[in-house]
Assembly symmetry: C2
Homo-oligomer: 175 residues x 2
Amino acid sequence: MKTLSRELILDMSPFLKVEKHQVGLPDGKIVENWPWLITPDFANVVVITTEGNFLIFRQAKYSVQGSTLAPVGGYIEKGEEPLAAAKRELMEETGYEAPHWENLGQFAVDANRGNGVAYFFLARDAYPVTEPDADDLEEQEMLFLSRAELEAAVARGAFKVLPWQTVMALALLRL
Amino acid sequence: MKTLSRELILDMSPFLKVEKHQVGLPDGKIVENWPWLITPDFANVVVITTEGNFLIFRQAKYSVQGSTLAPVGGYIEKGEEPLAAAKRELMEETGYEAPHWENLGQFAVDANRGNGVAYFFLARDAYPVTEPDADDLEEQEMLFLSRAELEAAVARGAFKVLPWQTVMALALLRL
């Protein structure tokens, strides 16, 4: 599948741009008006403290009913490496640092429409160095879960947002 | 967070609509021009055959480089229950039926912008009843993986699309 042409049809920078693509298929057919979403790539981090607990948040988010559990994470800035973004978000959101980082993979959010790439990390032996500097619009509460508590939370779908459930599940499979 | 008003600003039905929302925050502030994506909800299924193998596909998709592994799944039609969509997609894409179904959860694709809801299922003891009736744009190859092969594929990120990696990880945690 090849992009034959592209046209910007909506610009709500920095959060969203929509393009219309003309796409060539392997059999030679051409698809017109293929919507393509350009949104910021983001990083999410599963954080394990030196005490062996999982550092997460409880938050309200616009897309979900009630509160949801959430990992550390946020948008990757222009020119920033995904791992650097993950470390920056850990510091800003929690005031923690971690000496040991593992890559849990990268995934296209949508198979057909783009919509950014998710980068996932596991941070081990995290410890507090300063106060969090949260600039999120929403209030959030910091929680420390044991492994058994995290397994139960994932099993009941308590991370109500797709990439958040994913990063937690991938960490549990790794550990 | 409350939706104070909404305006349709882009209509590429049936795949995408974009709205602009005015959102009221808990502290009384108002955010203008909040982008909101309306895309079809979808279902993905982890299929285990009567032989104990995982039935998956290898596909090319527009958002990923090279080929990717993929589960059974697709868009939920208007008025259709997610489980009914999952069963329909299993039949259309593989020609298989399954007597035992488990719910693996539902998740908002994006925490802030909507972009549909993913519904995940596990189908056990699946067996072939007819030929697949694939109407996908892309060619796809059917594969049967052992549990060890699936674990290795998930560990190396061979499902390159976010919901596909998620549904596989959640099934492995459940089994």
